[in-house]
Symmetry: C2
Amino acid sequence: MIEVPTVTEDDLFGPDNLPYGVFSADGGPRRIGVRYGNHVLDLGGAAAVLDGPHRRHAALLAAPVLNPLMAAGRPVWTEVRAAVRSWLTDPGTLRLLAGRGLLPRLDDPGRPLTLHLPFEVADYVDFYASEHHAATVGRIFRPEAEPLTPNWKHLPIGYHGRAGTVVVSGTPVIRPHGQHRAPDAAAPGFGPSRRLDIEAEVGFVVGTPSPLGEPVGMAAARDHLFGVCLLNDWSARDLQAWEYRPLGPFLGKSFATSVSAWVTPLDALDGARTAPPPRSHPLLPYLDDTGGEEWGLDLRLEVLLNGQRLSGPPFAAMYWTAAQQLAHLTVNGASLRTGDLFASGTVSGPGPHERGCLLEMTWGGRDPVRLPDGTERVFLEDGDEVTLTAWAPAGAGRRIGLGEVTGRVEPARTPRSS
Amino acid sequence: MIEVPTVTEDDLFGPDNLPYGVFSADGGPRRIGVRYGNHVLDLGGAAAVLDGPHRRHAALLAAPVLNPLMAAGRPVWTEVRAAVRSWLTDPGTLRLLAGRGLLPRLDDPGRPLTLHLPFEVADYVDFYASEHHAATVGRIFRPEAEPLTPNWKHLPIGYHGRAGTVVVSGTPVIRPHGQHRAPDAAAPGFGPSRRLDIEAEVGFVVGTPSPLGEPVGMAAARDHLFGVCLLNDWSARDLQAWEYRPLGPFLGKSFATSVSAWVTPLDALDGARTAPPPRSHPLLPYLDDTGGEEWGLDLRLEVLLNGQRLSGPPFAAMYWTAAQQLAHLTVNGASLRTGDLFASGTVSGPGPHERGCLLEMTWGGRDPVRLPDGTERVFLEDGDEVTLTAWAPAGAGRRIGLGEVTGRVEPARTPRSS
């Protein structure tokens, strides 16, 4: 029996959303998929079956990864998105696609689908865009000093991370080994991290590349940004604290960064646009967004630990926007490549239940958090599973969902002798 | 008339060297080349013409980039290198290859060759492995504090850079714009960098990948490291000084990193192996190289500005070795990909004429350097051309050359309105 998807108005993955991913079934080839309710549209398969102008893009849609579609640019993204929407909202076409087996269920126990890393990551940059997060971390680590460094309100601080260890949601995270030094110790020790943490973040995925030497201004951000994912920037706080002076985080971050299997098109978030927080310092022209397009995004994140709610960080509270980050990243002439990923930094709001990492929630490990079932945590324990989810308003009282990102902590492995 | 290469015993690119690159002629396809004297062997072409066990690797050798050969692993590298050496040192084979047009001159004005970025860069990491450099920079920037941070002697400090802006030798370097703040200013200014600098470095290129979660110990370094290049990590000191707290360098480095067009196989440097400097602090077992394979490398670098010698940094003085850097980079379980590039950090020796960057040579811009022709520099001026070269002992009194890396500074471009 053919199952035709039924998607109700309050479904988080209805026709206003249509995120892209990459899936395979039964060990078969990887295919681009579009999530619709609890089903996945086989995009390349659908494009081959249906007539229309999208046929010009058949090769992009039949690729095993999103990069060729991402590289094709905004006019193609718009055209493909409109075509998919028209197919899924036309009952006859929907039945036809379901009948051809091009709309499998995501959770069919008889034929489980595997979701893969949806795009090849080129460069990965991590920003530090939440004032609440940066100020709290400053108070924890440098209680004697100003919470924010002098540059914080003048530029979106960021650094490059390891692209090769960006993994898809569901990939286990092995507790890393590394050097850490106790406050009173003369020399560092070595062993599994004892302060393993999460960072709830939002990632922005670059589609259209840009040439070396040509900055991409804020007004061009929409042409370059393909979409948005959720991201967990796993962090070993003890490794990070010992290594980060003077050149920044390295092994404390590079062991794993998890991204959601679904990339939400930027266009699906038009209903979530909002003004960013008021700017307390005047900005240089290339970052000054007063009076321009509103690049704040009203995404409501939720952090779950073993299925229990830890916090609800509000993305709308972020000081620096994706457009400002893109403008800053390229103002020195750095080029963009298709697949560049830049993340927001930990999303934290002003309230105690709006923090995006355990470092903040526990005030540097001092105050355990208590979960609804009564268990307590300071940092992550082996076996802990962390899930980030989010939704966004989509206009007319509707909402869309962002694909979740989840990962379970596996115990540290005994190192082989070198 | 066919020109058969004649390579004398003192040629820096003789049969003991045989570095790999990628070239094209007349806008034709990219081909892997092996440098021999002042000629380039067309590797894929030669492999197709000659019989032998190398035929099994024909696809790797005919690729337009080194990555497939790099991924094939050490036994294949050894086999291919031995085959190329046997071809080039056999007069009959050499004549045959020259006769087929498979040994073009590098500098034939009638048929100029273009040298390309020889490998696709996966992740780029920059270390900070010269004690002399780190201590001098510490003294310049933090005169009131200890020159080295407390972690410096316990781990090779490093950070991720931008892989997408690694460019091949000869690519012009456009002076970057960015934020900088004068010491007495209340707010940052914006404009072209006024403190544009070089960093003379050596880059190590990863061939064999490694899986997530499995550290690569020092004893396995030889199996993973394909070769060595020269690298200029162009640096805008004014951008860097303002942005780098607390997460490290970003735009001050990400506008361009130049690498030589030739990658010297690790095996060609066996004659340059030497003991690293004595370790002043005991090292954790995964970094302890006392009594093991000697990973110091006696490379003699030379820094030229507009053809005039600026300095001669000795690579043998580097405190941390490539094997230690690889072990550290992966000790947290981070995976390696083919094409990962990690650089040594600025190579500086103890003497005043052994420094690898203008920041050190001019003591932070205070004392101009005087060139042999009488001109002076504090930082780089528009039109300046910087070239790094190096040679290494190859046993029996012979030497091998590392391919040069060169770049000319172009004036900043007027930014487009955002």
